[in-house]
C-alpha cells in the first residue's frame, strides 16, 4: 500500500520526495552496484543515478528513472549527496530481503537538502519504519569521459552465456583479457591463472549475440578484481552491452528487468591494465 496518507504540504520543506510502491525495484538496482560502502546519489528531473567507484579505476552507475516512481518531486534542478550504501541497503531490506507479491514493502524517500539526512519511510503490511541516514558531501565524481563517439567496438549479447563465463572466472589470474575482433574469434575472454590459460570464445553468428559492431581488432586487459563486482549486475540482467573505446576503456551496460516489467540500466566502466615497462 502506498503511503497515501502523507500530506503533500508536509513535504514542502523537502527538496526531494520520491515514492515507490515496491522498494524491491530500488534494492535490486542498488544491489547490482553494491561493491563499496560509499555511494554518490545524484538526483535530477530524470531520476536517480547512484554511483559507486573503486580505486579510481572502476565506476558503476545504477539508473532509476523517475518513471519508475509513483511520485517523484524535485524542487531544484539537481542535488548530489554521498551516503553509506551498505546502511541504505540494510534499511531498504529492513522487512527482510525475501519479497512476496502480496506484501511488497513501499518506500518514501525524502531529502531536505545539503546537510540534512536522507529520510526513509518503509511500510509493510501496516508496519511502518522510519530511517534517517546521515549524508555527506559528495566528492568529485570520477568521469571516465567515455564518449559514444569514441567507441571502437560494441557487442550486445544475452547475459545468459556471459553469466557462466564470468562467474567461473579463474580468480588466480591477475587480468581478464577481452579480445574483440571482426575476424575469428569474435569475442574472447581469457584468463591466465595458476592452472593455465582459459579462453571462452563467443562467435558473432551465435544466437546469443544480438548485435556485433567491431571495426578493428582490439585486445585489452583489465584487472580481474576490478571486474569481478560487475558479476552482481550481470546476474540480474537480461542483456549486456560490451563496448571499448579508443583508449581501451571498457563499458559494460546491463539491462535489468524489474518485477513489474519495467526496465532499468546499470553500467560499469573500467580502465585498462597498462604495461609501463616499454616506455
Amino acid at each position: 500500500m502506498a503511503l497515501s496518507t502523507q500530506d503533500s504540504d508536509d513535504d514542502s520543506h523537502y527538496v526531494l520526495v520520491a515514492k515507490l510502491d515496491n522498494a524491491r525495484n530500488m534494492t535490486t538496482m542498488l544491489k547490482a552496484i553494491h561493491f563499496k560502502d560509499t555511494a554518490i546519489v545524484f538526483a535530477s528531473e530524470n531520476g536517480l543515478k547512484v554511483t559507486v567507484e573503486d580505486a579510481k579505476c572502476v565506476l558503476a552507475n545504477a539508473f532509476i528513472q523517475s518513471e519508475l516512481f509513483q511520485q517523484y518531486q524535485l524542487r531544484v534542478e539537481q542535488i548530489t549527496f554521498s551516503i553509506n550504501l551498505t546502511v541504505l541497503m540494510e534499511c531498504l531490506n529492513i522487512f527482510g530481503a525475501a519479497s512476496q507479491p502480496s506484501s511488497a514493502t513501499s518506500l518514501k524517500m525524502c531529502y531536505e537538502g545539503y546537510g540534512h539526512p536522507l529520510v526513509l519511510m518503509l511500510e509493510d503490511s501496516g508496519v511502518l519504519t522510519d530511517c534517517s541516514i546521515k549524508t555527506q558531501e559528495s566528492n568529485e565524481t570520477l568521469d571516465f569521459n567515455f564518449n559514444s563517439a569514441n567507441v571502437v567496438n560494441k557487442i550486445i549479447i544475452k547475459s545468459e552465456c556471459l553469466k557462466e563465463a564470468f562467474s567461473e572466472l579463474d580468480m588466480t589470474s591477475e587480468v581478464l583479457e577481452i579480445l574483440m575482433s571482426p575476424d575469428k574469434p569474435h569475442l574472447r575472454l581469457s584468463t591466465f591463472g595458476n592452472a593455465g590459460t582459459i579462453q571462452s570464445d563467443f562467435p558473432k553468428d551465435s544466437e546469443m549475440v544480438e548485435q556485433f559492431l567491431c571495426s578493428e581488432r582490439t585486445v585489452n586487459r583489465y584487472k580481474i578484481v576490478l571486474l569481478k563486482p560487475s558479476v552482481k549486475a550481470l546476474m540480474v540482467s537480461m542483456r549486456t552491452s560490451i563496448r571499448t573505446d579508443n583508449r581501451g576503456f571498457l563499458s559494460m551496460q546491463y539491462m535489468i528487468k524489474m518485477d513489474d516489467g519495467q526496465i532499468c540500466f546499470a553500467e560499469y566502466f573500467c580502465s585498462p591494465d597498462e604495461d609501463f615497462d616499454a616506455s
Binding site: 567461473e168 591463472g193 595458476n194 592452472a195 593455465g196 582459459i198 579462453q199 571462452s200 570464445d201
Partner: protein, 512 residues
Amino acid sequence: MKCIIPGANLKIFARAIHSLSKIGDEIYLEALPDGLSMRTVNSSRSAYACFKFVPTFFLKYDGPCDTQKNTNDSSVSKCKITTKSCLTVFKSLVTLEKTVERCRLVLDVELDRLVFQLHCKHGIVKTYNLSFIECENLQAVFSKDFSPNVLVSQSRLFHDVVANFQSGQEEITLSVTPERVTIRNYIDDEPEPQKVIRTELSLMPEEFENYRVGVDTEVTFCLKELRALLSFSESSNLPLSMYFESAGRPIILALDSDPSFEANFVLATLADTGTQVSSSQQSVKPLVSKGAAASKKNQPGRVKLPQTRKPPSVEAKTKKGGVSLQRKLSDTFGPKQSSSRMMSEFESTTNGSETVKKSNLDESALKEVDIADVSTAFEENNGTSTSCINEQSKNLPAKPNEVTAGQIGKRLLPSASDKPGSIVDGASPVIPAQHTAFEKVVPTHSKPAVCESNASEDDETDDDDLVPGTPPSKRFRSLFFGVSQSTTSDSQPTTHPPPVVLAEDSEDENDD
C-alpha cells in the same frame, strides 16, 4: 593423445575426475591403445584409483600410436596433471550437462599444454590450456581373480550402508562369514573409547547380487575412499564389486559392469591384530618361540595394543579357536609381504626420473619431493613405530571391558604387554622376555625389527629429533597408521602426539 568426448559421456568423465580429486592431488593420464586411463594415488600411498575409458566411450580416440611423430612417443601419450587444474575445467557438473555438446582433449606437446576444449551450445567454445608434468607410469599390481571373497551389489546398497556412519568416520571394518557380512566403524586410538559412538550393521547374502565368501575375514579400510567411489557410481547406480581376501591384503572396489569404462579403487587394509607394521614380522618369530611368562601386572607402558585395539576381532578369533591362531600366524607374516608389495606396486618411479616440464603449481613439484621425503622418513622412523603402538596401549585399561571370554581375557593380558605378534601365541605369557628383548634391541634402531620393541627413550628421541614439531593430530596419525599396509615398512612414526610419547618415556624409566 587426442580424443573427443561426446556430451552424453562428459558427465561420467567429469564425475570420474571429481572422484579422483577426492583421493589424490595428481591425475596420471595415459592414452593406451585399449583406452584412456586416469589414475591417482593418495599421498600416503594407501589408496590407488584408476578409471579406464575404452575407445568406444569417445567420439574419436587417437591412441598413442597416432600422435605426432615426436622424439619420444611415450612422452606424448601420458602426463600428470594436478587435480586442481582438472577441476577448473569440470567444476560445475550441472552446467556441463546443460551446455556442453562435446569435449576435445588434446595433449599438445609443442605448446606443452594439455588442452580441454569444451564446445558448448550457441557456438561458444571454452578452451582450457593446462600445464602438465611429464611422468612415469603409475601402476598398481593387483588381481581380482584370485580374491576368495567377492561382494557385488548395486552401489545404492553400499551408499545406504555408508550413510549410516558419521561423516567424520575414518575407517570401517567389514567382517564376512558365509552367513552374513557385518560392517562397523573402526575405533582408532581414542582417549575415551567408552564414549565413542559405535555403529554396526549386518547384511544378509540375499541383499547382494553376488556373495562369495571363501575365507572368513575382517578387513578395515578407509571410508573416505569408498565414499569417493560411491559419489561417482551412485548417480548411475552401477553394480559395485568388492574383492578382498584378508586383513592386510588390499581390497579392490571395482565398477566393471559397464562396457565403456572401468573403475578400480585399490585400498590398503589395516593389518591384522598381530601386526601393525611389516617390520614386526621379523621380531614376531623369535618372541613367539620364547614363550616367556606374561607379566600379570597390567603395565600400560608394556601394553602392546594393536591387537587389543580390536577386541571384536579378537572375539571372532576365539570363536574359531585354534584355526584362527594358525591363521593369525600366517597373517602376521602375510601382511609384510603385501605391504612391501604394495609399496612397490604403487611406486610410480617419480622420485628420480621425473622432469617437471612446466609445473604450473609449485606444489606439484613439491609433491614429488614430499613423497620421496616421506619414504625416507619412513625408513628412518622405524624406531618410532613402536611408540605409536605403545600409545595405543594406553587404551588397554578400557579394553578389557569389552572382552568377555575368559580365553580372550587371558590372551589379552599377556598380549597387552607382548609384542604384537605374540597374540598368536595365545595364552603364553611373553612379556618379561620381551621386555628384556626390547631392552636389548632398543639401542640398535637400524633394523625395523628392533624398533618394534617398546618405545625407548632412544626411539622417542629419534621421533622427537626427526619430527620435532609433530602436531598432535589424531586424524593425521590414523590416516597413516590406520591404513599402514601399503606404505613403506612403518607408517605410524611421523605423527605421534608428543605428549603421549613422553608419557611412555617415563614409564620406561620406571621399569628400568
